[in-house]
């Protein structure tokens, strides 16, 4: 017997969907701007994986909500404050190093998180997780390689990677923050308890960063708020670009 409401599950699914969509949209900005052709195609592939993942979560969320809204309605007709993605996902790409470090932090996390989600008592979620984890393992292979390659590369590439790590470090605690919704659903065996992932994430990331001749920052700052809809100034611009077509021509198909 479930002792949580449909809206609890809906909010949880929306968080997962928003995470995937916003990172996918951000990553897609690399399309045609990659450092060279092969990496451009690879990056676009990763972006598409995330947008595909977002669709699966939105479709399920729309079904759970039961108000006749579609995946597109959820993606294109909600405002900034209604998006509950993690802040790290919405930060601009800055440079290649920044994008890769972000991707690496998220990939390590995604592999652990999705592994947990495959054991969800919610069959639909478990199925999405089994599909997505294959992609994330591949993404991790890529981002881990880049971390090493650029960390051990030139003085310039090492410097840029270190700057990215320093800039992003304070955004990582939010990946392990449990919302009330998640706590409730994790007790019910549906959501993953993020607390349990922190130790392994930290161990993996620390080891990889050291192998890449880079340092874990010792600063203690952290920024949170994405889950409550409190975003950086960057999300609005991203949404404007992503949503303008549907907002201008609602229901447009092509």
């Amino acid at each position: 017997m479930n002792n949580f409401s449909n809206s609890t599950l809906y909010n949880y699914l929306l968080g997962l969907a928003d995470d995937a969509l916003i990172l996918g949209q951000r990553t897609s900005e690399w399309c045609s701007r990659g450092p060279f052709l092969e990496e451009d195609i690879a990056l676009s592939n990763v972006a598409l994986d995330y947008i595909g993942r977002a669709r699966m979560f939105y479709q399920y969320a729309a079904e759970v909500e039961g108000k006749g809204r579609s995946e597109d309605d959820l993606a294109y007709f909600r405002d900034e404050r209604e998006f509950s993605n993690l802040l790290i996902n919405e930060l601009p790409n800055y440079d290649f190093a920044f994008s890769m470090v972000r991707q690496y932090f998220l990939d390590v996390h995604a592999c652990l998180y999705l592994q947990g989600l495959t054991a969800s008592t919610d069959q639909h979620l478990a199925a999405i997780a089994s599909k997505a984890i294959k992609e994330s393992r591949y993404h991790l292979k890529r981002s881990q390689t880049w971390l090493l390659q650029l960390g051990l590369g030139t003085e310039e590439s090492n410097k840029r990677m270190q700057t990215a790590i320093d800039e992003l470090w304070g955004y990582t605690p939010e990946m392990f923050m449990m919302t009330e919704t998640e706590t409730q659903l994790s007790t019910a065996g549906i959501a993953v308890n993020r607390d349990n992932l922190l130790q392994q994430w930290t161990a993996t990331v620390t080891a990889d960063i050291r192998s890449a001749d880079l340092q874990i920052p010792d600063q203690q700052w952290q920024v949170v708020g994405g889950r409550e809809g409190k975003h950086s100034e960057h999300l609005g611009h991203l949404l404007a670009q992503m949503q303008i077509l549907q907002r201008s021509y609602p229901g447009l198909e092509w």
Binding site: L37, E38, I41, A42, T145, L152, T154
Partner: protein, 94 residues
């Protein structure tokens, strides 16, 4: 670490039991990276079940100017072809 960005040749096996075939080439810094790029560039529409990548410089190729000494001598040796045997009807291909 030096900047390499070497050229790699990509070979794909499309289904099990079939040979790998050359499909193209790409640039990568390491063989491992070449493999992941090959996956993204050449198999995104489910074209393959196995990939080989080989550094282009590791391939020794026959040269156009050697064609005369390489292939011409075979032209007048028809007895090397199995075309003189009559195949039983049940065998369609050989």
């Amino acid at each position: 670490m030096k900047k390499s960005n070497d050229l790699y040749e990509v070979f794909l096996r499309s289904i099990r039991g079939v040979d790998h075939r050359h499909v193209g080439s790409l640039h990568a810094d390491t063989a491992e990276q070449a493999l992941t790029y090959a996956r993204d560039v050449y198999t995104r529409r489910s074209e393959g079940v196995s990939i080989w990548v080989v550094k282009s410089t590791d391939i020794t190729a026959s040269q156009e100017q050697d064609a005369e000494s390489f292939y011409d001598p075979m032209d007048d040796k028809p007895y090397r072809h199995a075309s003189f045997y009559v195949l039983p009807d049940e065998i369609d291909n050989m």
